[in-house]
Symmetry: C2
Subunit: 427 residues, 2 copies
């Protein structure tokens, strides 16, 4: 007998169907047993008019007659005839997966990750994450970007900064890629438009609700741009397309978080960082500390301002100061203390960083000298510019931060199957 | 003026069009200059009836009248009017990118990777690789698999064996994931069908044409299987779908390698390893060494046999011996010295490894003891089985090996943008 998926059960009305799934809940009245069975498409109630030996969590294959039942969730019930346990629980579940909300604190949630993931509300996060990955690929491919995979084991730390994990690599030392930045720039000289979905490793000792030490970056880089605004425009279109797909294909999972619709402006507002600082001071009487470009509190208020002033969840902050941006960032010709680098905020949290890059070899060398970065190990990158690369720019986006903000999760770690932080390497 | 992509130039016949691209070749007759311009969709010849200062490799934006010309490649030529160099070559190219074949040895090719990638025949490899990634996603999603991303930084070596890279992880030591094996199995208990496209790290000191130390794995795992044949059947369908998409969308890139069509049997032949060994001895008088399951020479002959006997480029070898398969592989109940593990060969090279897995907690523990594997650090994995996981299996496939075999490349390193081997960490 062929299996019927639970969300297709209406096609078998009046017939005997086979379903496969996990026992999600049991009501045992002795000689009548109600089982809720869950497969990856939904749940259905099955009634057995005889005693059966079964436990919550068992995986079963069962057969029974499909009956219409207005009272049942989904509109159908199965009159159970045969049941076979194909994999059996041998230890009692530590929490009740049938509750509407697990209500675990973050540490308990993550310590019991392999089991907590069986809860529908937790699963919904990763159903949406799957759709997010797909939507990014779709949006980029529609815009003629091709997917590349760049190495994560590097011979040299690539972007300055000390936040690299070190790897013992045979007789040498390698570092783990902090981003595909330099490689994707090189590839603009080859394919003009490239994107990558890949692992990113950051040895930052942060312990916050928005940082992890390993995540999936959504990168892109494009050539023949006029200026950074070609990049923000493309990123705007990409986000809009992604959210359209997520809203359409993720409806039932968004509902678990009481979200009906997703809005992305056709033109996300742009504000220069220097102006934004004045606005935040004037509107919210908050002074961004002098030793940073913008702090989390500042980003939060910027998000609030974008919502109040433009009714937008998104905001591009542009023209970050030269001292806070990496050596490859294009300098603003009208004000060399500023770059053509930007951040994209979503509900007051940075979800993407990008900008125009320097494409002239000589400018790159000059800027590296100013930043006191040695070219050691970066020759392959620098030399490529001698053979010309068109004017270009791009972005790096944090996939899990989008989900965190979308669902208003309290920590980014909820949006990662098996998150890594300073203390957590397991599960 | 809006840019026209070169493969769309026919839409502008008789009009003035703007194109952007790299100068691919120059014929300079003094007061008449022929330029071949290349963008990411193709090449076109442009004629300027005046002297211009330009070098091969420069990136330009140019305008001119589009004229039909039967003699021209693509059927059109541009009568150049305006040209602007937006990024200029400052060092002469070390080799001629306009030649039909670069003909570089592997080391020179890889040392000059950032430039060699600008050659159309090298580019074709990565155009096909992009289509391959997309085709895998498409095939898996069509079969109800959802995409997951599992951690690459692990607290414990997961599968036995010593081939792990070690990472200094704050105060601890981490290892780099050698596969998503244990995590994807856990996720079968959650989503039933999952796949992952992700980085895989192998600290193997091999120096062959088919090994690298970092690659992109195409993994999948599925629940509620009857036996390993459900897995080989699904993998067969997936490969068939992938090759259909690659043939259709990659036509012009396959042509660079003189490939017209791709064939995948509806039913890839299956042979038990023990039988195959006898056949190889009988047919080719070759004895597979005693200290291995099968050696590369044996795989090559197996591939030859599959071609001769079944006219198939693909072959499933099944029932690998217990001693050569990891602890999670299901044991053949009819012969405990064999497992229900298989390999998939493509033109005599292993491109995928898979099998049915053990889903009973007690069997897992017993098998680990027999294999002398300590459970330290694997508790999260083992405990999950106490809460039941359905019968399941899956595969891990090497994305770059498929491309190597597809195009008959001499080394897998040609199929990786920036490959990593024992000695190579750069570029």
């Amino acid at each position: 007998m062929e299996r019927t998926l639970i969300n297709q059960i209406s096609t078998q009305e009046g017939k005997t169907a086979q379903i496969k799934g996990r026992v999600f809940n049991i009501r045992n009245l002795g000689n009548i047993v109600f089982l809720v069975i869950q497969d990856y498409t939904g749940t259905i109630q099955t009634v057995f008019e005889k005693g059966i030996e079964i436990k919550i969590g068992d995986f079963v294959v069962l057969e029974g007659k499909v009956k219409k039942d207005e009272r049942a969730k989904g509109g159908y019930e199965i009159q159970g005839e045969k049941i076979e346990i194909v994999s059996s629980v041998i230890e009692e579940l530590p929490f009740d997966l049938a509750k509407n909300d697990l209500n675990l604190n973050l540490v308990t949630l993550l310590d019991n990750r392999t089991l907590a993931l069986r809860h529908p509300k937790v699963q919904a996060i990763f159903r949406l994450y799957d759709i997010l990955l797909k939507s990014y690929e779709t949006a980029l491919r529609e815009n003629n970007f091709i997917e590349i995979k760049t190495p994560k084991l590097l011979g040299a730390a690539t972007e300055g900064g000390a936040n690299f994990f070190k790897v013992k690599y045979f007789e040498k030392e390698a570092t783990l890629a902090q981003s595909p930045q330099l490689y994707k720039q090189i590839m603009v000289g080859v394919f003009e438009r490239v994107f990558e979905i890949g692992s990113v490793f950051r040895a930052e000792p942060h312990f916050t609700t928005r940082h992890v030490n390993e995540y999936i970056g959504l990168d892109a880089e494009m050539g023949f741009i006029k200026d950074y605004k070609d990049v923000t425009k493309t990123l705007n279109q990409v986000i809009k397309k992604m959210f359209e797909i997520i809203e359409k294909e993720g409806k039932e999972y968004l509902k678990e978080y009481c979200i009906d619709s997703l809005q992305v402006p056709d033109e996300i507002p742009h504000i220069k960082l220097s102006e934004l600082k004045k606005i935040i001071k004037e509107e919210y009487n908050y002074e961004i500390p002098k030793d940073t470009d913008i702090d989390p509190k500042g980003e939060e208020l910027a998000g609030q301002y974008a919502k109040e002033k433009f009714n937008s969840d998104f905001l591009f902050i542009t023209h970050y100061p030269w001292e806070y941006r990496p050596f490859y960032t294009m300098i603003n010709s009208e004000n060399p203390e500023e770059t053509l680098g930007f951040d994209l905020l979503y509900k007051g949290l940075e979800i993407a960083t990008g900008g125009q890059r320097i494409h002239s070899y000589n400018e790159l060398i000059t800027n590296m000298k100013k930043k006191k970065i040695k070219p050691n190990g970066l020759e392959f990158y620098l030399n490529t510019f001698k053979y010309a690369i068109p004017p270009h720019g791009g972005w790096g986006m944090g996939s899990e931060r989008i989900i965190k903000q979308l669902l208003n999760l309290s920590s980014i770690k909820e949006a990662i199957l098996f998150p890594r932080d300073v203390k957590r390497l397991c599960p």
